[in-house]
């Protein structure tokens, strides 16, 4: 059999696996791989400006297309720069394969130039990782890595390849699929759990579907099934930040997002429910609020593909370990087979309507300053009016929460945000990755003035690949969420949360060959947004918003769902040490 170099084997495998795009940055320890890529123009390589950018681009690509994101970086600093994005992908269950160069095997452990213990460093921020010391094992490892990254609960996998392994040769043939010795995620639910869940749903008087990123990860079919099951049962639906779009925001049973910045009706429905059906969510601390007061009167069903998510935070009555799509298929089928009808939930809906009447997302409009919520609402209106497929990414902070609250998502894979790790600097590279995977979509990164600066170097990447991404900055000259917490917790001592020395974003746009637009006041808002959408090519919008707006509603740290703050008048400005110690 003809032998190939390790680098050629890697590229062959990527082709066999249908990889279309790789986000990467060359360096000494991956030069053989870059040379192999040079001969394989069918794989598109996106040259980033910083390896962290590559990882978030891969995440944005993966989350918007459902395909795994692929990253290629060099040893040492290349790998360490990728660690934040790898961790982000682990926390948000994003399928990603990261190929890192390594110093040659004989130099491993000698503190060689650009050597870092990549498998050691990434052991706990990957789903799995490999150091491949034998080119004959490379093909098997690469195929296994993609299998692990994309099946079960998706996540990042790192393959560390020493430079001499990239050069050395081995026989290559496409590996046959083999059953893994120990990795066999359960995707099909046990019948007993499905049966119990369906009967509990049929009997519930105050049910709520609490859905999360698992519905999105399961594929678009899972969202369709969720909508069908919701319609069959008539139960209200709320979602975590990661699950937005699985049930449409324009749907009749939609309660809005739940949790720390969720709606009053979503959180009160969770609190007062007699049945919670958790579908692909994980009872995160942003969602539960104070645990001993979390949905005290409900029985709980938890569908999760990861057994370790079950009973981790909240004890549940029925555990269903399965892929969400598979479990929902079974539930819909059993509901119909049993001939169940939607129960009369009118009393429950009347109660929910009472909470809805609080209009918890309302805010005081301002004639002279743009309210950030208004900016998002107008962006939503303008985007909807285009009739285009719209993908929104965000950075992390107040703007992220306002986008989640005021932009409605009607389909999965259109909302890309860093939920678990909360990575500032995620949104803009994620938008580039999403645009790569969806060339005809309108991709907009909603950013804050502070977050956008964390990976702003990627403007060059968007220019180079002619990617027409839009950055919509809600500029309040603060790290707004930090400032908000300082206002709520530390008597408004704004320690280091002011964004001093901000760049002129319009000039910055021009420096990179982009279009820059500045929106100064309410009168320019609509036209500015329209100009952003209508301008071909990449655009940065510096939208000046009210500087001291707070994101409400809010469940403060350590508080229960029923202790929501709805507006600034309820803010005390200090907290107990117990509350301060919570994240």
């Amino acid at each position: 059999m003809a032998e190939k170099s390790g680098a050629d084997i890697l590229v062959e495998c990527l082709l066999d696996l249908g990889v279309e795009v790789v986000f990467g940055y060359p360096g000494g320890a991956v030069l053989p791989i870059y040379d192999a890529l040079f001969n394989h123009p069918t794989i598109k390589h996106v040259l980033v400006r910083h390896e962290q950018g590559a990882t978030h681009m891969a995440e944005g690509y993966a989350r918007s297309t459902g395909k795994p994101g692929v990253v290629l970086v060099t040893s040492g600093p290349g790998a360490t720069n990728a660690v934040t994005g790898i961790t982000d992908a682990l926390m948000d269950s994003i399928p990603m394969v990261v190929i890192t160069g390594q110093v040659p095997t004989q130099l491993i452990g000698t503190d060689a130039f650009q050597e870092a213990d990549t498998v050691g460093i990434t052991r706990h921020c990957t789903k799995h990782n490999y150091l491949v010391k034998d080119p004959a094992k490379l093909a098997g490892v690469i195929h296994e890595a993609f299998h692990i990254a994309t099946t079960g609960r998706p996540g990042p996998v790192v393959i560390d390849i020493p430079k001499n392994v990239q050069i050395a040769t081995a026989p290559y043939k496409r590996p046959e699929p083999v059953a893994h010795a120990s990795y066999r995620p359960q995707t099909k639910a046990d019948a007993a759990g499905i049966d119990a869940a369906v009967e509990m749903l049929a009997a519930a008087e105050r049910p709520v579907f609490y859905t999360g990123g698992g519905v999105i990860n399961s594929g678009p079919e899972a969202s369709t099934l969720l909508r069908e099951l919701a319609a069959l049962t008539g139960a209200p639906v709320t979602s975590t930040l990661m699950g937005l779009g699985a049930y449409p925001a324009t749907g009749p049973q939609w309660l809005g997002m739940l949790g720390m910045h969720g709606t009053y009706e979503a959180n009160f429905a969770m609190n007062q429910a007699d049945l919670i059906v958790c579908v692909g969510a994980r009872f995160d601390d942003r969602v539960t609020g104070r645990l001993d007061a979390f949905s005290p009167g409900s029985r709980k069903v938890h569908i999760d593909i990861d057994r370790s998510s079950i009973n981790k935070i909240v004890d549940v009555d029925v555990a269903i370990v399965a892929d969400v799509g598979s479990a929902l298929t079974d539930m819909v089928a059993l509901w119909k087979a049993r001939g169940h009808e939607a129960a009369d939930l009118s009393a429950w809906w009347a109660q929910i309507d009472g909470w809805r009447a609080k209009k918890s997302l309302d805010y005081a409009e301002n004639a002279t300053e743009i309210m950030p919520q208004r900016a998002i609402a107008d962006l939503y209106t303008a985007c909807t009016a285009t009739g285009k497929d719209v993908i929104i990414t965000t950075e992390v902070g107040q703007h992220q929460m306002w986008a989640a609250q005021h932009f409605g998502f009607d389909a999965p894979n259109k909302w890309l945000t860093s939920g678990g790790l909360g990575t500032m600097g995620y949104g803009f590279p994620a938008a580039i990755g999403a645009q790569m995977g969806n060339p005809d979509s309108l991709v907009i990164c909603v950013a804050g003035d502070a977050s956008i600066q964390m990976n702003i170097q990627e403007m060059g990447t968007a220019s180079q690949y002619r990617l027409p991404v839009k950055i919509f900055i809600l500029n309040n000259e603060y790290m707004g969420m930090v400032r908000q917490w300082q206002e709520l917790t530390y008597q408004s001592r704004y320690s280091n949360s002011y964004s001093d020395s901000l760049p002129d974003f319009v000039k910055l746009a021009e420096a990179y060959g982009w279009t820059g637009i500045r929106i100064d006041g309410p009168a320019d808002l609509e036209s500015g947004i329209r100009a952003m959408i209508d301008t071909p090519g990449p655009v940065i919008v510096d939208c000046r918003v009210a500087k001291l707006s707070n994101c409400f509603p809010m469940i403060p740290s350590g508080a229960a769902h029923t202790e929501m703050l709805l507006d600034p008048s309820q803010v005390k400005g200090s907290m107990t040490d117990e509350a301060k110690a919570l994240v």
Binding site: R123, R307, S308
Partner: protein
């Protein structure tokens, strides 16, 4: 403000894992990263082709934490099977210790007498010292070492616990 701690119980976990580089770091690292306790940990390969190792971990925690530890271990790609021997039914557990004791005269005789009671073997001797080999439960080894401390304990090496479920079945 003070940090609260929960009551915990001792559990013996038995894992089979792929015998590959880094597996011990994955297991040990999972315990440190998630704040679980390791009282002892043993590892050795147990198959003819050296493909699978058994790791026995003695840990402690409240029931909910033990359940999480099991689930988190099971989630690791290289872990084949995780069993909580403490929950799985009757099981035997043993550890081995080497105990070096120095002394002369009556102390020396007393050390030998106690070793006999504990069925410890002498595996090395000089005019002024013994090394005893003792196997048994952790309690038994603790007791033996405690007694030797009063006579002239020099140092101790312990393997940590290994355990197997009783009866004909494998875990």
């Amino acid at each position: 403000m003070h940090i609260q701690e929960e009551l915990s119980q001792r559990h013996v976990l038995s894992l089979t894992v792929s015998n590959e580089a880094g597996i011990l770091a994955r297991i040990a690292g999972l315990f440190t990263a998630r704040g679980y306790n390791i009282d002892s940990l043993t590892v050795a390969d147990i198959t003819q082709d050296h493909g699978v190792s058994r790791i026995t971990i003695v840990t402690n925690g409240p029931p909910k934490v033990i359940d999480q530890i099991m689930a988190q271990l099971d989630r690791l790609v290289s872990v084949h099977k995780v069993t909580d021997l403490t929950e799985a039914g009757p099981f035997v557990e043993r550890e081995l210790a080497l105990v070096k004791v120095a002394g002369v005269g009556e102390d020396r005789i007393e050390a030998l007498r106690l070793a006999d009671v504990f069925r410890a073997k002498v595996v090395d001797t000089t005019i002024e010292s013994f090394i005893f080999e003792i196997t048994g439960t952790t309690d038994k080894v603790d007791n033996f070492v405690g007694l030797m401390r009063q006579i002239g304990l020099v140092e101790v090496g312990r393997t940590g616990v290994v355990g197997l479920i009783r009866g004909t079945e494998a875990i």
